[in-house]
């Protein structure tokens, strides 16, 4: 995974709450067996509307999506994260993310930043007033800065370290695989296995 230390870019205001992962990428786009090529499915239903924010030329180059509360609810599809990344987003800001989506995003290096709703509103207003507003998202200092303002955000130390080092979770777990082996020795014999049952 690529290291994430900071990102500077412009924002895209998505003034909608409860944007579920079926909106981010409808199921019909989930048939690919790769991790790439999902950008066409991003917000597919809304993309046909010329008024939709991604279709507005002033927001074309935005890399920071600023969304309403409860972003990423619903299906666990990690394709939602890939679609946002494939399209070019590096950061999503919202006042609340669904758990699975947030987990997926932080595994895959898409930084999800939680800001209070009033800060999200202020950011929306600033971007809409000037779409060229430079937004700096810094993981080192855990701050979102724009137009002379700096807002702190929280991210647990462990996840922050993993993102800043670009570390792969699987590699970290495998480093101490003997702990898993030890645990397995103590597992109850009655726990089921998926091997076929022969009657």
């Amino acid at each position: 995974m690529e290291k994430f230390i900071s990102h500077s870019g412009t924002g895209v205001p998505l003034r909608r709450s409860n944007v579920d992962t079926d909106q981010i990428i409808p199921a019909v786009y989930l048939k690919r067996v790769t991790r790439t090529g999902f950008e066409d499915g991003l917000f597919a239903a809304w993309r046909s509307d010329p008024e939709f924010v991604l279709n507005q030329p002033q927001f074309k180059n935005g890399t920071i999506l600023v969304a309403g509360v409860d972003f990423g609810t619903g299906s666990s599809r990690e394709h939602a994260v890939w679609a946002l990344q494939n399209y070019g987003f590096k950061v999503v800001i919202s006042s609340r993310f669904a758990d699975i989506f947030r987990g997926n995003s932080l595994k895959g290096g898409l930084l999800t930043v939680i800001l209070p709703q009033n800060e999200v509103e202020a950011l929306w207003n600033a971007i809409e007033k000037d779409p060229n507003t430079q937004i700096d998202v810094n993981l080192q200092s855990r701050k979102v800065s724009y137009g002379g303002r700096a807002i702190d955000f929280e991210l647990d130390d462990y996840t922050r370290w993993r993102l800043m080092e670009g570390l792969d979770d699987i590699g970290l777990t495998l480093r101490k695989i003997e702990e898993v082996e030890n645990f397995e020795k103590g597992r109850a014999a009655f726990k089921p296995k998926t091997l076929p049952i022969l009657n």
Partner: protein, 465 residues
């Protein structure tokens, strides 16, 4: 201090615990399907890793499969490739798979319990958010993303931060015609789609204790719709009786050992929950959704809400958007809403009891003239059982379609989809925009309301017939 049920299961699976790090939990069962696994297997190959415990992994084909002509090759080449990729991956890594046409094939969350492989006190994961279904057995079960699927394949563990605990107390007795689907829709309407975020939900109380295992699965299934990754119910005699004798249930001395452990799996009387809410089952009536998220629901006897009367600005805007998408006028009685398609099925309500209860309403009647009804058993076994009981004839004689097992119209992925503008009463779990097909409109309902609606052509309960 006492511990909650979820804390007991969590603690029993900790492989590693260090301050400032997520706990590393051992995973007892990993269920996989065709949609969220191919990139994970690719990841394994790229890093030269193997599947650590194939004998704790089980695959089935469900999301992307057709429910008619299953003896023919899948028509859509992209869908076919995805299903064939799963078959190849399972063959390469030695994982048991139930493919289309196999008697054990079906929706992953119907198959696990039916095989008896879902048991109390287990940790169960799957790249599907409705994995919470298995929580009905007192298992800690939750949906994961594809990166996590790869992690579990490679290590049989997952690093996880300990969630908070919420008790959902449902006391009293449900009135006739009111089901566990109505309980969970009412819970979600009460706490909203974000209310359970960061929590594990434990459903408790006298109303829950009276429910069958299948009814409990319906409730736990939709925990994710309240924002909670997992929801569970303490196992009891109803649970043990359900598991006993199933193919993967422990036998002999192992059954006794398992039972002794399972009986310890309940929240202690002095356990502390971070949050508690209470619902009175006696007051519940059939519940339906009017909007585009599962929290936008009302009793069937009520009317479409008036957005301007909502105090919260975000809720007001969301309601306005939802009414536009759903093409509904504020204040319309829910029972006046005409339905084009009724879908009975899914991991929420595609089990034998769901089909039986709907068939009982439909028996001897015809579905309304321009209404279509699709009945899709949750698994091939459910289909066979229903046919043995003659339920297929009941549905077919009423004018419904009788299909093979799969996720079908719950998600607009396989050929079963709504057309733009089509309105459905659906026993599934999500009424999101376009969920059942681009431009399709969904009202979530119980199997009883689905059956009555099919007969009447408008949203209805059996009492309205």
């Amino acid at each position: 201090m006492g511990r909650t049920l979820a804390e007991k299961v969590w603690n029993d699976h900790i492989v590693r615990q260090n301050a400032g790090e997520p706990d590393l939990l051992y995973i007892d069962l990993h269920l996989i399907h065709e949609v969220t696994s191919p990139q994970a297997f690719d990841g394994l190959r790229l890093s030269g890793r193997d599947v650590r415990r194939p004998e704790l992994t089980l695959a089935t084909e469900d999301h992307n499969v057709p429910t008619i002509d299953i003896d023919k090759p899948i028509a859509d080449p992209v869908s076919r490739l995805q299903v064939e990729t799963l078959r190849k991956n399972c063959a390469e890594f030695g994982i048991r798979i139930h493919s289309l046409g196999d008697v054990e094939q079906g929706i992953v969350h119907v198959v696990g319990p039916q095989l008896g492989i879902t048991q109390p006190g287990m940790t169960i994961v799957c790249g599907d958010s409705h994995t919470s279904t298995h929580g009905a057995f007192g298992a800690l079960a939750f949906g994961i993303g594809t990166s996590e699927v790869e992690h579990v394949l490679a290590t049989q563990t997952l690093p996880l931060n300990r969630p908070k605990m919420m008790a959902i107390n449902v006391e009293g007795t449900l009135k006739p015609g009111v089901t566990s689907k109505d309980i969970i829709l009412a819970v979600i309407a009460k706490i909203s789609t974000g209310g359970g975020q960061g929590y594990i939900l434990e459903y408790r109380g006298s109303a829950i204790r009276q429910l069958s295992m299948e009814a409990r699965m319906t409730i736990c299934n939709m925990s994710i719709e309240a924002g909670a990754r997992a929801g569970l119910i303490a196992p009891d005699e109803i649970t043990f009786q359900y598991i006993k004798g199933r193919p993967h249930a422990p036998k002999g001395a192992e059954w006794e050992a398992a039972l002794a452990y399972w009986k310890t799996l309940h929240s202690d009387s002095d356990a502390k929950f971070d949050k508690e809410i209470t619902l009175n089952a006696d007051e519940l009536s059939p519940f339906v959704t009017w909007g585009t998220n599962p929290g936008q629901g009302v009793p069937l006897n009520a009317s479409v809400p008036i957005p301007s009367e909502l105090a919260d600005e975000q809720e007001r805007v969301a309601a306005q958007n939802a009414l536009v998408y759903m093409d509904l006028k504020a204040g319309t009685p829910m029972k006046a809403i005409k339905i084009d398609t009724v879908f009975l099925g899914s991991c929420t309500n595609g089990r034998i009891e769901d089909l039986r209860s709907a068939a009982e309403i439909i028996k001897g009647k015809r579905i309304a003239g321009d209404t279509r009804m699709l009945v899709v058993p949750g698994s091939a076994r459910v289909r066979l059982q229903a046919e043995a009981e003659g339920l297929d004839r009941v549905f077919l004689d009423a004018g419904a379609e009788w299909r093979s097992a799969g996720c079908s119209m719950c998600l607009g992925m396989n050929p079963d989809q709504l057309k733009p503008g089509e309105r459905a009463a659906s026993t599934s779990n999500r009424n999101f925009e376009g969920r059942q097909g681009k431009g399709g409109r969904t009202h979530l309902v119980s199997p009883l309301v689905a059956a009555a609606t099919a007969i009447k052509g408008t949203l209805a309960s059996p009492a309205d017939l």
